[in-house]
Each structure stands twice: as structure tokens, then as C-alpha cells.
């Protein structure tokens, strides 16, 4: 491997890592602002203009706080928990295509860290690993509330991963590939051959199932039972303090960012935007606009996550399981059958 490629990828990784951290940081701020606006309030407005330095203040606070490790906890696992949570949250962004190619001089740069041919499976693997962080943390705390939260997180993630995987299978029957780059390329532009190119218009039911499962996988309301304050004190992170708690909370926001990016890539055309090649712009400009379009979609989805959180209350646990096993999985299977029929008839 040539050195320049290594440097190029290293820069790309650093930039994407930085962007996902900053997005997660500002998601915490956005969450509080969105919550405030939805409740006719103002939200944080003291740190800097409109409170935009609030995330920095929160981060500083998290680092300064006293670190408490319960004596009865299992020492190493207690530290491994949040580390694993934040690690798995961060590495999911590696396979997402952030844009098309940039041409700088004679060099063509792919705006994707790596295009592995099982991109979706990789994402699924990473997401499934994410629950280990929660489970280990909840187990190591040696606290019944933490353990209950961890059990809830584990069973919830396992249940909803099935429906999520099945909804993806229907999508894969249309795309014929697991590579996220190719899926994004297939959704080029907005309109082709008499129908929309974006997958959400080919797989509306699949998208609905996918987004519901994404809410469950990221432990966001209305599926935030693992950290349900009214029942479990703080859920799996009851015993955590200082930046270890910060990492858990932060991992949730990074997960939200990554799942928004995955949804935008799989169903909403990724970096594609309408008329992208009919405007007569240069390739590089189209690429940059594509990145902007992708981030606009991601920000919309993040906003949607928050909008839903501040609208509907939490499910009861048996209702959650009912929804997962008795509704979403049969629906997803029906969706596969329907997709198969449509794909054969309209080929």
C-alpha cells in the first residue's frame, strides 16, 4: 500500500471521527433546545450566544466530577463497559459513504473510509456489539437496577434486530448488493425510469419497520426502557459517575448519528439530491453539495429522533415485546413476500 493512500485514509478517519464526536456533542445541545421549543420554553441560553458553548461546559463538568467506583463492582468490567459502548458507537461510521469522489489534482479521493462488500452486515455486527457495553456495565455495577436495565437492553436489542434484519432483506432483494456504496449509487438523482430512485419509495413498509427498530436499537424513547428513570433509577448506568457516565450518554448520541446516517444512506438516497447532474456544476462541487445533502438528511433524522422522544411516552415492557415479536416480525416477513412478488412481476 502506498504511503499517500495511508495518509489519505488517516485524514479521512480523523475527519469523520471528529465530525461524529462534534455532531454527538451538539446533539446533546440540540436535544435540550428541541425539548425546550416543543414545550414552549427557551432551553440553555447562558453559555455563549444562544447557549452554544453548553456542550463544552457539560463536557468539562463531566470530566471534573468525582469518579465513584462501587467497592462491590467488578473492577475491570466496570471500566470495560463504557469503553466498549463508546468504541462500538464510533466504529460504525467506517463503511458509510459520505459522498462521491473528490478530485484533487490527479488524485481521486473516495469519501468513504472503506467500501467492504458486506457493509450492512458490518453495521449490524457493530450495533450488536454495542449492547455488550451496556450489558457488561450493568452486570459489573452489582446493582439490581443496573442489571435489570442491562437485561432489558439485551432482550430489546435482540428482539428488534430480527425485525430490522428482515426489513433489510427486503431492501437487499431490490438492490442485490450489501455494499453501502453501491446502494447509494443505485439511488442516483431523484427520478429515473418513471419512478423515484430513493429506496424509501420502493420500500415504504420496510423503511417504517427499519426506523421503528432503529429507535429500539439506539434505546431512544419510546423504547428507552433500559434507562427508564421512573422504574430503574437510571437503568444500566445507575452506578456510573463522571466521564464514564458521560461516555454512556455520549455513545447513545453517536449511535443516533450513525443510525441516522444509515437510514439516510439506505432509504433516502445517501448523498444524492434531486437534479444533481442536471445543474451543470463541476464534479467536485456536486460531491460537496452531496455531502451537505447527506448531512441535511442526517440532521433531519436526528431531529426526528428528538421530536418523537418529546412527543410520545414510553412503552410498557410487555407491549414492547408484543410490538417486536407479534407485529414487526410478521410485517417484515410479509414485506419480504410482497417485495418478492413485486420484483418478479414488474421486472
Amino acid at each position: 500500500m502506498e504511503l499517500s493512500l495511508v495518509i489519505e485514509k488517516f485524514i479521512l478517519v480523523a475527519v469523520i471521527f471528529g465530525i461524529s464526536l462534534v455532531t454527538a456533542m451538539y446533539s446533546t445541545y440540540a436535544e435540550r433546545k428541541v425539548a425546550a421549543f416543543l414545550q414552549d420554553r427557551i432551553g440553555p441560553n447562558r453559555a455563549g450566544p444562544f447557549g452554544i458553548f453548553q456542550p463544552m461546559a457539560d463536557g468539562a463538568k463531566m470530566f471534573m466530577k468525582e469518579e465513584i467506583i462501587p467497592t462491590q463492582s467488578s473492577g475491570l468490567l466496570f471500566i470495560v463497559g463504557p469503553s466498549l459502548a463508546i468504541l462500538t458507537a464510533c466504529i460504525g461510521s467506517a463503511v458509510i459513504p459520505w459522498g462521491q469522489q473528490l478530485t484533487i489534482g490527479s488524485r481521486v479521493i473516495d469519501l468513504q473510509v472503506t467500501d467492504i462488500n458486506v457493509g450492512i452486515l458490518y453495521i449490524f455486527g457493530v450495533v450488536s456489539l454495542g449492547v455488550y457495553g451496556i450489558m457488561i456495565g450493568g452486570w459489573a455495577s452489582n446493582n439490581k437496577y443496573s442489571l435489570l436495565g442491562a437485561i432489558r437492553a439485551a432482550s430489546q436489542n435482540i428482539s428488534y434486530e430480527i425485525a430490522m434484519g428482515l426489513s433489510i432483506i427486503a431492501l437487499l432483494m431490490l438492490t442485490g448488493t450489501l455494499s453501502l456504496k453501491e446502494i447509494a449509487q443505485q439511488q442516483h438523482g431523484f427520478w429515473a425510469n418513471g419512478w423515484f430512485t430513493w429506496n424509501v419509495f420502493r420500500q415504504p413498509l420496510g423503511f417504517l419497520i427499519f426506523i421503528i427498530c432503529a429507535f429500539a436499537e439506539t434505546n431512544r424513547s419510546p423504547f428507552d426502557l433500559p434507562e427508564c428513570e421512573t422504574e430503574l433509577v437510571g437503568g444500566y448506568h445507575t452506578e456510573y459517575s463522571s466521564m464514564k457516565l458521560g461516555f454512556y450518554l455520549f455513545a447513545e448520541y453517536i449511535n443516533m448519528f450513525i443510525s441516522s446516517a444509515v437510514m439516510a444512506t439506505l432509504y433516502f438516497g445517501g448523498y444524492n439530491f434531486p437534479f444533481m447532474h442536471h445543474l451543470g456544476l463541476s464534479e467536485n462541487l456536486v460531491t460537496i453539495l452531496g455531502v451537505v445533502a447527506l448531512f441535511a438528511k442526517i440532521i433531519f433524522f436526528i431531529f426526528f429522533f428528538m421530536w418523537v422522544r418529546w412527543t410520545i411516552p414510553r412503552f410498557r415492557y410487555d407491549q414492547l415485546m408484543d410490538l417486536g415479536w407479534k407485529v414487526l416480525i410478521p410485517l417484515a416477513i410479509a414485506n419480504i413476500v410482497l417485495t418478492g412478488i413485486f420484483a418478479t412481476v414488474f421486472k
Binding site: 428541541v34 416543543l38 414552549d40 420554553r41 427557551i42 421530536w307 418523537v308 412527543t311 410520545i312
Partner: protein, 165 residues
């Protein structure tokens, strides 16, 4: 049993129809309601910079009044302390000396007059009890402080500013 008030209303528990069980239409209407609130004007009052307007009869910090000549009205009769349900008021009376006629209206005055703002419940009974119209709860909110002793307000904080200044 026969209803005594005729206000009883029998509710029928109807089974949910398909769309109600599907849950999504309800979520969508909920989302539209919250979105309406998103664009509504916030009701927040940014407190230290902007203060909520008090009503005419708001009972805030106490002030000991002076009469039209700038003399203190309080005669240390103790009725306010007696009427205080929280026992927040204490005072020590003193006799007016010759030459102090411009300071105190009558022969007796309060040398020490203290209100413990942590005990006070701002009921306004002292104001009602006062025969000399000397105490009124017409001030602001009691400001915060760090020590309990600093919440015992003496005459330096309670008495109105002199007239000619």
C-alpha cells in the same frame, strides 16, 4: 344506588378500531401537536434580566415606612411580632431622647427591629396588625444569600430611605 348529585356519567369502554390499534395515526397527530408548539412563542421569562410584573397586592420584602416629615412611623408596640404566625419578627424598644424628634414620630421607637426572612411566610398579618401604618410588604423578592445569619434583616435593610436624599 341512586346517584345523589346526578353528575355521574357512565362511560362506555369501546373496543379500539383498527386505526386506533395501529398506533401510528395517533403518533402522527401527537407529532403535529408538538410541532405546533415548536413554533409557538416561549412563555419563559428570562429572570435576572426580565422580571415578571407583580400584581398590585403582591407581598414581597418588608419596608418600615416614614411619615411625610421623614420620621420613622414605628413605635415598637410589638403588635406585628405578636401577630406573626411564623415568629419571624423581633424588636427592642427604646425611648426617644430630646433632640431626636426629627427621627422618630412618637416617644417610643424600635432600636432594633429584625425580621428573619427564612422564617417569614409573607402572609401580611404584620401589615394588617400595625396600627401606625409603619410596615408594608411592598418590596421585591428576598434575594439569595449564602449564610443563614445574612437572612436576618435589621433596620439597615428594612427602613425606607430618608426623604431628603
Amino acid at each position: 344506588m341512586e346517584s345523589l348529585t346526578n353528575k355521574k356519567k357512565v362511560l362506555e369502554a369501546k373496543p379500539l378500531n383498527f386505526w386506533e390499534r395501529a398506533y401510528l395515526p395517533a403518533i402522527l397527530s401527537g407529532l403535529s401537536i408538538t410541532m405546533k408548539h415548536f413554533f409557538r412563542k416561549p412563555v419563559t421569562i428570562k429572570y435576572p434580566e426580565v422580571k415578571r410584573e407583580f400584581s398590585e397586592n403582591y407581598r414581597g420584602l418588608h419596608s418600615l415606612k416614614r411619615d411625610e416629615n421623614g420620621k420613622e412611623r414605628c413605635t415598637a408596640c410589638g403588635l406585628c411580632a405578636l401577630s406573626c404566625p411564623a415568629e419571624a419578627i423581633t424588636m427592642i424598644a427604646a425611648e426617644r431622647q430630646p433632640g431626636e424628634e426629627n427621627l422618630y414620630r412618637e416617644e417610643k421607637y424600635a432600636a432594633v427591629y429584625e425580621i428573619n426572612m427564612l422564617r417569614c411566610i409573607f402572609c401580611g398579618l404584620c401589615e394588617e396588625a400595625c396600627p401606625k401604618e409603619a410596615i408594608y410588604l411592598d418590596g421585591d423578592i428576598v434575594p439569595t444569600d449564602f449564610l443563614r445569619k445574612d437572612f436576618i434583616y435589621g433596620k439597615d435593610k428594612l427602613v425606607e430611605a430618608p426623604l431628603n436624599q
